[in-house]
Amino acid sequence: MSETRFTEQHEWVRVEDGEATVGITKFAAEQLGDVVFVELPETGRKIGAGGEAAVVESVKAASEVYAPVGGEVTSANAALADDPATVNADPEGEGWFFKLKLADAGEFAKLMTKDQYDAFVKGL
């Protein structure tokens, strides 16, 4: 059983068995345009909720990616180094950025549901 939640900074986070997978939303990927470089966190790094975790660069600009929930990084999507365009092609699937061992399930519960996020994007 997994559930996906969203942030106002346009990250998504999916939690399954206490492990959180993080990426950027389809809306964010469209706004950025062609992604040409992704900098990912090292395994073992501890990041607090809202902390800078990764960087995504399009042709035009660099953007920070924040950890929606706190925890210890368990893995990063190495495939993005060779093919950063995966972020545009499948942002909420194959284009995931990193995984965390969820420190506090309460942080996850405070994030937006899909419906809430869709309404949030509509209001932008």
């Binding site: 345009g33 062609d34 660069e57």
Partner: protein
């Protein structure tokens, strides 16, 4: 930079950009497309492979008008280091507006009409950001018998890429006869235009100026060709960066001079001999004795782009310069940048570090252009 508190200006192609799905952003006071649905990478690569159509109507089209060629050319030479006295009919030249301390006020294109009947007039194309600023600067330095006339009622399109000639000549046969940096008056499907073989992508191509009311017709006609794709500001920037060309306000500005900017070639021999261009004493001294810094091309070793403002350090960690424009070069499939470094580090192959997000990233000083120019020069 863009001021969003004011109403943005629109070019004659604004409605077309919106219709084509352009992502509109404020740029130098204009609402301009940064990209179309194809995206910057595809737009960039398409221009190098086939042909891209750019709306550059935001750039300032002006005429300097005096009683005869010599008077007008000498008036322009008061504010530039170029030789316009000997500029031949139908030829154009890249130049710099220089202030009294040798700083670069703007860069511009200067064109002399092919027709002797137009003698006394020189066409100028200045940056969008330079409209107004340049007008005041130039007017304050003109003799009474030479006037600066704005032509804001005109549109300007650029068609760039290896297929540009084949596409354009079907509507404008005279275009095929032009070589790089030459210009002519010509009809495009019966519309009076001024056409030049020029551009800012490093590719062969043309710039077409026409009355604003005809701009959309010309653009739509060109876009009907399967080889032509509309190109936004994003790809325009990555194309010019790969071509090693300067972007005003970033790579050159009033704090940079032609020597440190590596634009000494814009200073004509006669002007050097006569030492009669703005800040000639200071600039000649820089030519002979060297400038403290120099604009260079930079290739990061890794994949991370280094952006404008990024510090450049030597291998011991001492800051020796700064990136002035940097990003990703789609044709190279690698990051590229331009920046200024202390002259001692400006030699090709020099190893440097770029301080990206607090980390030193290895990079190398390389010759520009990053992607070879493919201009159609006269034989």
């Amino acid at each position: 930079m863009a001021d969003t508190s004011q109403t943005l200006r629109e070019t004659p192609l604004h409605a077309l950009h919106v219709e084509l799905g352009g992502k509109m952003v404020p740029f130098a006071g204009y609402d301009m497309p940064v990209q179309y649905p194809a995206g910057i990478l595809k737009e960039h690569l398409h221009t190098r492979e086939k042909a891209g159509l750019f709306d550059v109507s935001h750039m300032g089209q002006r005429f300097l008008v005096g009683p005869d060629h010599e008077t007008t050319a000498r008036a322009l030479e008061r504010v530039t280091p170029g030789d316009f006295l000997t500029l031949r009919h139908g030829r154009m030249r890249y130049s710099l507006l220089l202030n009294e301390s040798g700083g670069i006020v703007d860069d511009l294109m200067v064109t002399r009409s092919p027709s002797p009947a137009d003698d006394g007039a020189l066409g100028l194309i200045v940056n969008a950001s330079g409209r107004g600023i340049d007008d005041d600067f130039i007017r304050a330095r003109l003799p009474a018998n030479v006037k600066l006339v704005t032509a804001d009622d005109r549109g300007l399109l650029a068609l760039q890429g290896p297929r540009a000639q084949a596409v354009l000549e079907t509507h404008c046969p005279k275009a095929a006869g032009l070589s790089f940096m030459t210009a002519t008056g010509a009809e495009f499907d019966g519309i009076d235009c001024a056409v030049s073989r020029s551009g800012y992508t490093g590719e062969d191509g043309f710039e077409i100026s026409m009355p604003a009311e005809h701009a959309e017709t010309v653009a739509r006609t060109l876009l009907r060709h399967p080889d032509v794709m509309p190109i936004g500001l994003g790809a325009r920037d990555s194309l010019r960066l790969e071509a090693g060309l300067c972007l005003y306000g970033h790579d050159i500005d009033e704090t940079t001079d032609p020597v440190s900017a590596d634009l000494v070639w814009t200073i004509a021999k006669r002007r050097k001999m006569d030492r009669d261009f703005p800040a000639a004493g200071k600039i000649m001294d820089l030519i002979f004795n060297g400038a403290a810094t120099k604009r260079v091309g930079i290739r990061p070793d890794g994949r991370a782009p280094a952006r404008e403002g990024c510090a450049i350090a030597d291998k011991a960690g001492r800051v020796i310069g700064r990136i002035t424009s940097g990003g990703f070069g789609p044709s190279l499939n690698a990051p590229v940048a331009q920046g200024y470094v202390e002259t001692g580090f400006a030699g090709d192959g020099g190893e440097i570090d770029l301080m990206v997000r607090g980390k030193a990233m290895a990079a190398r000083v390389v010759p520009m252009p990053f992607v070879p120019h493919r201009y159609r020069r006269a034989i």
